[in-house]
């Protein structure tokens, strides 16, 4: 019983760590897509930010500078996406594909040119990273049964960016549903013409949406390379940007449900790693690849309309052309 409890807590702890970049990225995608700009380049932005953050941390030794550089990189890429899709009415999917491919190549090219380690950045000291933080009272409460373990092992002991990710969800909800900016942002994703008629700039609203998207993917990338790991390795995002996109759709383009989907997909991943080679009674050994592919399968099943219905923002993917 005691063992099972600890096992569950450790699995949940791993879930939190796996889900953090997913949460940040799907909140990023939420802003972009609710404003009508499809973003399949979450992956590329996160990868670029992870690489630059790790490089800056290795060069300067400051995790804060690294965070700033990671965010700046992702914001730059987001602006490029906006420049193509908003200013030049380019195809949003094509632009996203371009950024993903560009970053998967460029991070390795620059990594090898700068560090000569086959695309990896130098290992970082703990002073150069975001390290786990012990929340107050974690030691004191450690002896309290159940609650102490939950608090000490699950809630406390993560790095700063994890808490940022979990705070991003209520913040995203508040901005989208309780502010004037959020109302307009959602409106521009549904009916840009109405927003334009009201005298509000569609382009400026969408640019702000992709900027927020860049900010959040930048934090996600920085988390991967200098908080959760101690270096950048090539292709380190490994499809997590796409899983975050799947979570966003699985959550029907809403903050709390998308957050739930991120936790679910994170849990699946954490369980998959733990189940490696362990036979389940009655079923036998479940191949890990299938559990890892489950988020994609679930998303397809959802999109097929077999579990509820995911309705995308109405004007998503359509460049807005002002009538002249």
């Amino acid at each position: 019983m005691e063992d099972a409890f600890i096992f569950a807590v450790l699995t949940l702890n791993a879930t939190v760590r796996v889900a953090t970049p997913l949460i940040l990225c799907s909140m990023a995608g939420l802003f972009s897509e609710r404003s009508g700009v499809i973003d399949i380049s979450l992956e590329g932005k996160m990868l670029g930010a992870a690489f630059i953050a790790a490089s800056v941390a290795a060069a300067t030794g400051s995790p804060w500078l690294a965070l700033a550089a990671g965010i700046a990189t992702a914001v730059f890429l987001a602006l490029l996406h906006g420049f193509a899709c908003i200013t030049h009415h380019g195809n949003q999917v094509v632009s996203g594909v371009a950024l993903n491919i560009l970053m998967s190549g460029l991070t390795v090219v620059l990594g090898i040119a700068w560090f000569h380690r086959g695309g990896q950045t130098p290992s970082l000291e703990s002073s150069e990273r975001f390290m786990p933080i012990s929340l107050p009272l974690a030691d004191v409460l450690a002896d309290v049964p159940v609650l102490g373990t939950l608090y000490g092992r699950l809630i406390s002991g993560h790095n700063l960016l994890v808490y940022v990710a979990f705070l991003a969800v209520p913040l995203a909800w508040w901005v989208l549903y309780r502010t004037r900016f959020g109302l307009r942002l959602r409106a521009v994703g549904e009916n840009p013409k109405a927003v334009d008629t009201a005298g509000i700039s569609v382009a400026w609203l969408r640019y702000r949406a992709v900027l927020i998207c860049g900010l959040l993917t930048g934090i996600a990338g920085t988390y991967l390379s200098i908080a959760n790991n101690a270096a950048f390795v090539r292709d380190m995002t490994a499809g997590q940007g796409y899983i975050a996109l799947a979570a966003l759709i699985f959550g029907k383009w809403r903050p709390w449900t998308a957050f739930g989907a991120c936790l679910l997909f994170g849990l699946l991943n954490a369980v998959a790693i733990r189940l490696q080679g362990v036979p389940i009674p009655g079923i036998g050994e479940v191949p890990v690849v299938f559990i890892q592919a489950l988020p994609y399968v679930l998303t397809v099943v959802l999109l097929a309309g077999f579990i509820g219905k995911a309705v995308a923002p109405k004007a998503i993917g359509e460049p807005y052309m002002k009538e002249s």
């Binding site: 499809i38 399949i40 490029l80 420049f83 193509a84 899709c85 030049h88 009415h89 380019g90 195809n91 999917v93 094509v94 632009s95 594909v97 371009a98 950024l99 993903n100 491919i101 560009l102 970053m103 998967s104 190549g105 460029l106 390795v108 090219v109 620059l110 090898i112 040119a113 700068w114 695309g119 499809g239 796409y242 996109l245 799947a246 759709i249 191949p287 690849v289 299938f290 890892q292 592919a293 994609y296 399968v297 998303t299 397809v300 999109l303 097929a304 309309g305 995911a310 995308a312 460049p319 052309m321």
Partner: protein
């Protein structure tokens, strides 16, 4: 994608602007090479020489070209129906699985002449089947094909890992590969065929499938512009509502277009599995499906353009390999970077240069009209 202003003449729209876009992409690539401390001009020379300067290089270039023709055509035909197939990677993977399964099943019993059409058929069927599910979901359940094909790429990868590691692996070895096909299950290499008629060239992976790729180009051209189905497909791509009034059933077209697209992508497996590796293995698609997007965009979704763009990417891939070999600070990923830039400039930013070109063109036309108009007045001496 927004349409360019109509008043530009055709040669500027389909000739000059794509060239400007490629030049912009190459210019940025040059800046990147400069930034990592190498000389872009030297790099270009090494690339072109490595890709086209000697027999082996040309063989490899054409071998890459074969794959790009297949995936480029796949993306192009979907584009004509107004669909974006990002799933070429997964369809190629599953197509290769189909080719491999047929070869593993029949290579001891059937002769090459039967295995050749069977291989083509298997690649087409498996690739088409993998595209059919997202297509059906888009046509009948309203889910977007872009998202579902992305998901299907990952699902295809998972299926292949499972099959290769647990089912199809040749017993008694570590690496997840099947047994090698017998002679009957292998496409002849071009160097073997040339040796048959007395010409000796360096062995390269280039094989008979390039002929099939060219046949596919002609087939796709004829299908899109010379058949009723092709007409209906383009009609749906241009204006679905109008197509409905013309009696076209868009749902059928969506499924058909995606199936053809998937089948074409599946032929990458035909080249790689039956033509080069002669066994089933992991990761043989190596990003060719994604490159198909760049190829199709650059080739303006026309088979002739696709062949030209495939050649360019063949040169980039082979030249890039050579460059990585000669210059230690440069890696093969430089080619991936260039590919990303090409998609950015000739896809997403395709019409960025149009306003400038239009303005220049108008200036030029206006200047010519002015000189034509002022010429007679000056001769009459009126001032």
């Amino acid at each position: 994608m927004s349409a360019p202003p109509a008043e530009l003449p055709r040669w500027i729209d389909i000739g000059l602007i794509p060239v400007i876009n490629i030049c912009l992409a190459l210019l940025v690539s040059g800046l990147i090479i400069l930034a990592i401390g190498e000389n872009p001009w030297d790099a270009l020379v090494i690339m072109v020489r490595g890709a086209l300067g000697y027999g082996e290089g040309v063989g490899y270039t054409l071998y890459y070209t074969t794959n790009f023709i297949f995936t480029g055509l796949a993306v192009a035909i979907a584009f004509h129906a107004g669909l974006f197939n990002i799933g070429g990677e997964g369809q190629a993977y599953i197509g290769g699985l189909g080719v491999g399964l047929v070869m593993l099943a029949f290579d001891s019993y059937l002769p090459f002449v039967l295995l050749l059409p069977l291989g083509i058929l298997a690649g087409a069927l498996f690739g088409a089947a993998w595209a059919a599910i997202p297509a059906w979901l888009q046509a009948y359940r309203g889910s977007h094909v872009v998202i579902t094909t992305i998901m299907f790429n990952f699902i295809a990868a998972a299926v292949m890992v499972y099959l290769m590691v647990n089912v199809l692996i040749k017993p008694g070895q570590m690496s997840p590969e099947s047994r090698e096909f017998t002679e009957a299950g292998q496409l002849p290499f071009i160097h073997e065929m040339l040796a048959g008629i007395g010409i000796t060239v360096t062995p390269t992976p280039l094989n008979l499938s390039i002929v099939w790729a060219l046949i596919c180009c002609v087939g796709v051209w004829a299908f899109i512009w010379r058949t009723r189905w092709g007409y209906e497909l383009r009609a749906v791509g241009h204006n679905e509502a109008a197509a409905v009034y013309a009696g076209v059933r868009p749902r059928h077209i969506v499924v058909a277009a995606m199936c053809i697209s998937g089948a074409l992508a599946g032929f990458v497996g035909f080249n790689e599995i039956m033509g080069v590796h002669h066994r089933l293995l992991l990761n043989f698609t190596a990003g060719y499906g994604f490159t198909g997007i760049a190829v199709s965009l650059m080739g303006r979704n026309h088979p002739v353009g696709v062949v030209l763009a495939s050649l360019l990417f063949g040169v980039l891939y082979q030249g890039g390999a050579e460059l990585a070999f000669e210059v230690p600070t440069i890696t093969r990923e430089l080619v991936v970077t260039i590919q990303g830039l090409v998609i950015l400039f000739s896809g997403a930013l395709a019409y960025m240069s149009t306003p400038w070109v239009t303005r220049l063109y108008r200036l030029f036309v206006g200047w010519r009209a002015d000189t034509a108009a002022t010429a007679p007045t000056t001769t009459t001496g009126e001032a």
